[in-house]
């Protein structure tokens, strides 16, 4: 009986959490243009239509490029900050780290409009580059949160041993530190990629005339006849996200096992 009611509550909460994404494939395969019950029948038409929209393909390519670069840059910045926070003590550390993590709680519209105003003032034309600038800013805190646990679990004496045995700082990092935190880095890359691929608010403000996938989707939501295609696209997106996240979680756990730390559960 212990936890009986709580268990029922927890399970129904999971239903609430998964309701939207569980409905997605149902409507994606439904043979009807109206998104409502009752269902009409099974079709693959919406998926095949996806292959015939050039604007969509451009948006996908654009988003993938942005997401890959964002993941690389924000993970690199994340490594610097997480490593500095875990390894060194310096005055003002809490303040500096707090400021770097600020985009985590800041409303995205504030980040978006303030970047927009500055970029327009300097005269930088809006393009994929400006979207990347914004995405790196919001992804870095997530990368730091993931990498923090990797670097914090790292046993300092391993590095000191390598150092005492004559390795240089660089070779110590390459031979000892990097392999131990590698799973964390992969996990961070995957998370940053996923965030950037799905991010809409900042992309909406900072994208020029080369829309990212979410910005393209937003445009399509206005046309009722296009909704089934959007559902098909959403199904593919969600499937991809779930796959990437499962990989990220796998690497995160492996990283924790490798450094001998205790699993505190989940990202963040």
């Amino acid at each position: 009986m212990r936890g009986g009611w709580l268990r029922i509550y927890a399970l129904s909460y999971l239903v609430f959490l998964y309701a939207p994404i569980a409905l997605l494939p149902i409507f994606a395969f439904n043979d009807g243009t109206v998104i409502a019950f009752p269902l009409r029948g099974f079709t693959l038409q919406w998926f095949s239509e996806l292959t015939q929209i050039p604007a969509l393909h451009t948006a996908v390519a654009n988003s993938l490029m942005i997401a890959v670069i964002t993941a690389l840059v924000s993970t690199l910045l994340g490594i610097c900050a997480a490593r500095a926070a875990a390894r060194y003590d310096f005055p003002g550390k809490r303040g500096i780290m707090g400021f770097i993590m600020l985009p985590l709680v800041l409303p995205e519209i504030i980040v978006a409009v303030s970047l927009l105003v500055v970029l327009l003032q300097i005269g930088i034309r809006l393009s994929a580059v400006t979207v990347i600038l914004g995405h790196v800013l919001i992804c870095t805190p997530f990368c730091i949160a993931i990498l923090n646990s990797s670097f914090q679990n790292l046993d300092k004496s391993l590095e000191e041993a390598a150092f005492d045995l004559g390795e240089t700082r660089l070779s110590t990092f390459r031979l000892i530190t990097l392999p131990l935190v590698m799973p964390g880095i992969i996990s961070s890359l995957l998370i940053a990629f996923t965030i950037s691929l799905d991010e809409f608010i900042i992309a909406f403000f900072l994208t020029g005339n080369e829309p990212t996938l979410p910005v393209y989707l937003w445009g399509q939501l206005r046309f009722p006849q296009k909704i089934p295609v959007v559902m098909a696209l959403g199904t593919l997106l969600v499937a991809l996200s779930v796959l990437l996240l499962t990989l990220a979680e796998y690497f995160r756990r492996r990283g924790i096992a490798r450094t001998g730390g205790k699993d505190t559960g989940g990202f963040l």
Partner: protein
């Protein structure tokens, strides 16, 4: 090897190393966060005439932001909706965090946390849009309830109003509330709970007098991490809010992108942030006694 040589090889002092390593990230945040935020603040005191920015300092934007009833109404409604979302999210999240921390075996905990976070990482636009599908007049919820014979007419109070915004945002921010509370609950020394029960408290009073106060830092973190970002959401109000569910972020977006009045948009953004910041500080102040004590 002398100590001096070793220090030389280690390179400078520990603090210098730390600064050097953190500097790329800190510099990035400085240039792309601090400078833009300062610019927004400056903009809110300027005026704009089509594309020309007049940099004479003025309080005109703030007078307009506070004077115009529409802006006041939007601001107040945004705070109310954000507050309602925060209350709903944290209250429904607490039992989940409690369940995972206290009733799920250690080996299964990360699986549960993983399951809870997955929906959060999937396309935000798509999720919001599907809530529109679920809550709509011919939507999934109404169809189900009618099919089950529970209602005769479709419910209309659940789409295109503030309720829909609250439900959708509570869904979107659920993991943000669950995770901090879960972490706080995990830190609680279980022997304290045994001690409390040995000393004659029952399960309920143990929860109220031991577990809850110790979990408060997590609850406070959850409240802040839900309350502050929700004020800036404009996707959810636009898609499911209807005319009476629009929030201040929609107005900020309109000022910047449609009306070309960046200074007024900036002033509205600054006011929104100040209000949210002030409310958050008051909230943290009220909970100070829970936040003290050993880390």
């Amino acid at each position: 090897m002398t100590l001096k040589e070793r220090l030389g090889r280690l390179g400078r002092t520990e603090a210098a190393n730390g600064y050097l390593l953190v500097s790329p990230t800190a510099l990035y945040a400085l240039l792309l966060l601090a400078v833009p935020l300062a610019t927004i603040l400056a903009f809110s005191f300027w005026t704009q005439n089509y594309l020309d920015i007049d940099t004479t300092l003025t309080l005109k934007n703030y007078q307009e932001a506070f004077g115009e009833p529409l802006y006041r109404q939007l601001m107040l409604r945004s705070l109310m909706i954000s507050g309602a979302v925060t209350l709903a999210t944290v209250l429904t999240a607490f039992p989940i965090a409690y369940f995972v921390s206290f009733h799920v075996p250690q080996s299964r905990k990360s699986l549960w946390i993983f399951l809870i976070t997955i929906p959060f990482w999937t396309s935000y636009l798509i999720r919001v849009f599907l809530w529109k599908v679920i809550l709509g007049y011919n939507g999934v919820l109404n169809a189900t309830l009618q099919g089950a014979g529970l209602i005769d007419e479709p419910l209309t109070f659940i789409l295109y109003n503030a309720n829909a915004v609250v439900i959708t945002l509570a869904h979107a921010f659920a993991p943000f509330a669950i995770l901090p509370i879960f972490v706080a609950l995990e830190k609680i020394d279980r022997s304290l709970l045994e001690a409390s029960q040995d000393l004659g408290e029952n399960r309920l009073t143990t929860f109220l007098r031991v577990t809850l106060p110790l979990a408060m830092p997590g609850v406070v973190a959850a409240v802040l991490i839900v309350f502050i970002p929700t004020i800036g959401d404009y996707v959810t109000p636009r898609l499911v809010g209807g005319p009476n569910g629009l929030m201040i972020a929609n107005m900020i977006q309109t000022q910047f992108l449609k009306l070309n009045n960046a200074p007024l948009g900036a002033a509205l953004a600054v006011i929104a942030m100040l209000l949210v910041g002030a409310i958050s500080l008051i909230f943290v102040g009220l909970n100070r006694r829970f936040l003290r004590g050993p880390k």
